[in-house]
């Protein structure tokens, strides 16, 4: 039940946002993350954005995984 998926914010109207989920737009509340901007990625859980994704941190983790992958010679 603690499933949350990363989605991109398409539009913001006060504390409501349109977010993109697998190519589809759907409504989400941003009451819990009122500072998000259009273009940000947020974690969507039960109709609410519960946290903003830190893209810089994500990129750092991805870079580390790429280095590990390169070490495997693929």
């Amino acid at each position: 039940m603690c499933l949350a998926v990363p989605v991109r914010v398409l539009q913001i109207d006060s504390l409501e946002a349109l977010v993109e989920v697998g190519g589809l737009a759907r409504q989400a509340s941003i009451m819990l993350v009122p500072d998000v901007q259009v273009g940000d990625y947020v974690l969507l859980h039960a109709g609410f954005a519960i946290q903003k994704l830190d893209e810089k941190e994500a990129e750092e983790t991805i870079r580390l995984f790429e280095e590990i992958a390169e070490g495997m010679g693929d």
Partner: protein, 382 residues
């Protein structure tokens, strides 16, 4: 999808698995506390690529599973009230209470509606002003802020026919209860990533400090989980237990301060009963005094018969990590996802349901020559 696919890279997965395999470890029990982790671990074939010495235990982090029969009985009693529309998440519908389930009472006429979000329940309340709409709020710290938000929103909009039956629970006190019970040996915790987006890392600090046990807050993709296991093994071998955050893209040390503020505005922390564990001090959320008028427990006279448990069901032991589903006499025989006896077989995140799906069905399929669900690092796909 961005921020998903990058964390499923096959070569990086093999690289992390190799790192783990190369580490010299004694037999190690790691507990994934969260049911969403349990599903991800099975779905991605992670157990199969770990060395035998590393044993993953499933913990009590399936909110549907830990909701005791007495609370389900209460929801059923409320749903039978002709003035009430009961709303809840789909996972709760088939959970057997002491005498019936929400599905069964819906079939005989109770107005029960499954919602994807509590905001849908709020709309139902708005559109049915002559009825009392009750939301059965189940879930951990990931979900309880959404309930708190809706309660505040209903207040702001002046919607006064929206009530709440809160069975929300808190994860860290349950971890303490498991450690204090001394029933199961745990060398490290894979801490729940999405609960931690809300509460941050501080609430787990007592675990390394008082019990000397490492904690890593992990994301839910296969590379996240493998990296978290690697980080736990590092801590174990260095004998430097602490709380590390693997899921850095989503979890900050301080959590989500707005969500925490809403939680403390709306709820008071209370002792709560967990299925299989009993009453855990300060592990539940009840509506605070200011919101008592929308607390279904206060607003309705709820009469239930004394709760009883299904004979032979081992959900309690499984939730504490003491038993595996195979040690339950009912598993995959009298108890299957089609005919569940206990909640661990009902919820898609219940340990028994996950084991059944990825082990039993995998085995059955392997005998028919069909692709197996249980023998592949499925997920470590390009």
């Amino acid at each position: 999808m961005r921020f998903i696919d990058e964390f499923r890279n096959s070569a990086a997965g093999r690289g992390l698995a190799l790192r783990i395999q190369e580490k010299k470890v004694r037999p190690t029990n790691l507990m994934e506390v969260c049911g969403t982790h349990t599903v991800a671990i099975f779905k991605h074939g992670i157990r199969q690529i770990l060395p035998e010495k590393i044993n993953l235990l499933s913990g009590p982090g399936c909110p549907v599973c830990v909701t005791p029969n007495a609370d389900i009985d209460k929801a059923i009693a409320l749903a039978k009230n002709a003035q009430v529309i009961l709303t809840t998440f789909g996972d709760m519908m088939k959970v057997p209470g002491s005498y019936s389930s929400l599905s069964q009472v819906k079939a005989v006429g109770a107005d029960i509606r499954v919602v994807y979000s509590i905001l849908d329940a709020l709309k139902i309340a708005e559109n049915n002003s002559r009825k009392s709409v009750v939301f059965l709020g189940v879930g951990f710290e990931t979900t309880s802020p959404t309930t708190a938000s809706a309660i505040l929103e209903a207040e702001r909009l002046g919607i006064d026919n929206f009530f709440f039956l809160s069975v929300h629970k808190l994860i860290p006190p349950a971890m303490r209860a498991l450690l204090d019970s001394d029933e199961v040996h745990i060398d490290g915790f894979i801490c729940p990533g999405h609960v931690s987006t809300i509460i941050g890392s501080q609430p787990y600090e007592f675990i390394p400090r008082e019990y000397g046990i490492p904690c890593v807050i992990a994301g839910f993709e296969p590379l996240d989980i493998l990296q978290a296991i690697d980080m736990l093994l590092e801590q174990i071998s260095a004998e430097e237990p602490r709380v590390d955050i693997q899921y850095r893209r989503a979890v900050r040390k301080e959590g989500n301060p707005i969500a925490l503020k809403y939680l403390s505005t709306v709820f008071d922390v209370t002792d709560a009963r967990w299925r299989g564990i009993g009453i855990i001090p300060k592990s539940g959320l009840k509506l605070g005094q200011r919101y008592e008028r929308v607390d279904a427990d206060c607003a309705f006279k709820i009469v239930t018969r004394p709760p009883k448990e299904a004979a032979g069901c081992c959900c309690g032991d499984i939730l504490r990590g003491v038993s595996t589903p195979h040690e339950c006499g009912l598993f995959a025989k009298a108890c299957t996802p089609e005919h569940p006896v206990g909640p661990c077989m009902v919820s898609t995140e219940g340990t028994c349901s996950v084991w059944y799906l990825y082990e039993e069905e995998g085995e059955a399929l392997s005998q028919t020559g069909e692709p197996q669900a249980n023998n592949k690092p499925v997920t470590l796909k390009e």
